[in-house]
């Protein structure tokens, strides 16, 4: 039986889709069978980020409504054998499916795949409720900004009300800005959100570049962000103890960016 993980945030634009694409790809690279589910119905992006938008024939609403089997709607990744995408519909909106529909769908996918990664839309309304239905756990993505943290806190409250355990990924963190006092630090974020920390993705231009090309950053594997995604994937698959690694990693970021004494 596979695991269903929903990537959520509350706030839009903090990196949920990028995280879904990169984590999914990294897990597939580690040898697991992975299916990515785009739950952002009406505003689909996961297919673009994965570079598979030209291959969509059927989508998740089709599969739920019974127009096709789930198998027919799944798209195999261009590069990796064991990575699949279930795209969202662009022409429907979030009321097209119900939480129960999603629960059934996700359960069916869990029977066939090691990991079911669900890309949650921004907000806390129907789309959010649909996306978390059927999830075993959640990864909350937040950037070190007050508005993002506020929304993430709201989402964590809703997740705990729904009995979905959550962990935190801090995205787009800049050690230089943290050092200058212009950005909240990793520990500031954790202090407010009071969540178990999974990882911290540094602000990385590589990610933007590769996203636009439809190539997840972990496929190149060299950038700092890519390495952190890969490390998180290892943690998710139970391969690595994260605590000691985090400290060393931050120092490495600092040094790579040319800072002599970087705070952990």
């Amino acid at each position: 039986m596979g695991r269903a993980i929903v990537i959520t945030s509350g706030k839009g634009g903090v990196g949920k889709t990028t995280t879904t694409a990169n984590l999914g790809t990294a897990l597939a690279q580690l040898g697991h069978s992975v299916v990515l589910v785009d739950a952002d119905i009406g505003l689909r992006n996961l297919d673009v980020v994965m570079g598979l938008e030209n291959r969509i024939v059927y989508h998740v609403v089709d599969a739920i409504k019974g127009k096709c089997t789930v198998q027919k709607a799944l798209i195999k990744d261009r590069r990796l054998e064991n990575l699949w995408l279930l795209p969202a519909s662009q022409t429907d909106d979030k009321d097209a499916v119900t939480p129960d529909d999603m629960r059934t769908l996700v359960f069916e996918l869990k029977l066939q795949y090691d990991f079911v990664i669900i890309d949650c839309p921004a907000g806390i309304e129907q789309g959010f409720k649909n996306a978390i239905a059927g999830a075993d756990e959640a990864i909350v993505v937040a950037t070190p900004e007050v508005s993002s943290i506020r929304d993430a806190d709201r989402v964590v409250g809703l997740l705990s009300a729904a009995d979905v355990p959550a962990r935190l990924v801090v995205n787009r963190i800049s050690p230089a800005l943290v050092k200058r006092g212009d950005m909240l630090s990793q520990s500031d974020v954790i202090e407010i959100l009071a969540l178990e920390m999974l990882g911290a993705i540094p602000l990385d231009d590589q990610v933007i570049a590769t996203t636009n090309k439809g190539v997840p950053a972990v496929l190149e594997g060299k950038s700092l962000a890519a390495r952190e995604f890969i490390r998180i994937a290892k943690v998710l698959s139970g391969l690595e103890v994260e605590a000691e690694k985090s400290v060393g990693f931050f120092t490495r970021i600092g040094r790579a960016l040319g800072l002599s004494a970087t705070p952990a």
Binding site: D153, G157, A194
Partner: protein, 339 residues
């Protein structure tokens, strides 16, 4: 025996009976209580009259109290002067005491009572004697006393009592036989923990020293007090009729509401409304940094240039406004009286 009287009497025993102690170093005699019971400490160098007078004076302070006690005689700077022991015996009879042991005063107990009662013959080891000469063997003296039936001048030890003399066990046993009832009761003066002077122990009577009803209290409403484990997340409304305790933070965007008082054992960063429908109430937090505070019908917010607090703070209504004070362990005076 009344324990309270015991405490009173024995408190005074260490005092010296000075008018009788002039020619000797130290007091002529002392009466004191030890863990093993009543003890007469006799200064062997003091005149017999002084010794007896001193002890008589002490015993006369509370004759009823001492009546029936077993008493040990501990001799300092021995030996006992001539005639002293029989005078002590008379004294004991007069005050209805039983002399159960006579020995040299030592830091440690020289003779375990059990040994005497068992009737084994006295030896130097038993008395723990280390003084070479001039040491009496009290058991011997007592035995003599018994056998002669009364007062008899006792020669000073130097005339031949320095050697332990074997006595017929039966004789000895009879004399020093411990009152079985007394033996069964290791505390003949019923002093309990107070018997040992060295150690101050409280009497455990099981009663609280102050009646609890005397403490001032804030009444709890019928709904009771609720203890919630935080953090209270953004968007959550936590309501309670009664007093509300939160162990953890109240995050910005969260609302906590109560008809009673609100105490946040964490950071209050959301909105809190206490004393809903009342006029009096307070909000206390380890770190009071709220978006808004409401008490009763009043509202307030932190000033625009307010810095984060460094101490616990309490907010309450004073006059027409909500005031915020540092909370250092006591409720503010005007709040405590009005609540």
């Amino acid at each position: 025996m009344d324990p309270s009287t015991a405490a009173l009497a024995l408190d005074e025993t260490p005092s010296v009976i000075d008018e009788l102690s002039a020619p000797v170093d130290g007091p002529a005699a002392l009466l004191r209580g030890t863990a093993r019971g009543l003890e007469m400490v006799v200064n062997g160098r003091a005149p017999v009259d002084a010794v007896i007078a001193a002890l008589t004076a002490r015993l006369e302070e509370a004759p009823a109290f001492f009546r029936g006690s077993n008493v040990r005689i501990a001799v300092e700077h021995g030996p006992l002067p001539a005639g002293c022991l029989s005078r002590l015996d008379d004294l004991a009879v007069a005050f209805a005491l039983s002399i159960i042991e006579v020995g040299a005063a030592k830091a440690k107990d020289p003779v375990p009572r059990a040994n005497l009662a068992a009737g084994s013959g006295p030896t130097a080891e038993m008395f723990g004697d280390e003084e070479p000469t001039g040491t009496i063997k009290p058991a011997l003296l007592l035995a003599q006393l018994a056998s002669t039936g009364g007062a008899q001048p006792i020669a000073p030890a130097s005339t031949g009592l320095s050697e332990p003399v074997e006595l017929a066990p039966a004789e000895l046993t009879e004399m020093v036989e411990v009152d079985p009832a007394g033996q069964a009761e290791p505390d003949p003066l019923h002093l309990g923990a107070a018997a040992e002077f060295a150690v101050e122990e409280p009497t455990h009577t099981g009663k609280a020293p102050i009646a609890l009803a005397a403490m001032p209290e804030i009444p709890a409403p019928s709904e009771g007090t609720r203890l919630v484990i935080g953090p209270v997340r953004s968007g959550v409304i936590l309501e309670h009729e009664g007093h509300l305790f939160i162990f953890g933070d109240v995050n910005p965007g969260a609302e906590v509401r109560a008809t009673g008082n609100i105490i946040v054992l964490g950071r209050l960063r959301g909105t809190a409304h206490a004393a809903i429908g009342q006029d009096v109430g307070f909000i206390l937090a380890l770190r009071l940094e709220p978006q808004q505070l409401r008490i009763g019908r009043r509202v307030t917010r932190a000033g625009d240039d307010a810095s984060p607090p460094t101490d616990s703070e309490i907010a309450y209504i004073a006059g027409d406004a909500i005031v915020v004070e540092r909370y250092l362990g006591k409720l503010p005076r005007n709040l405590a009286t009005s609540i």
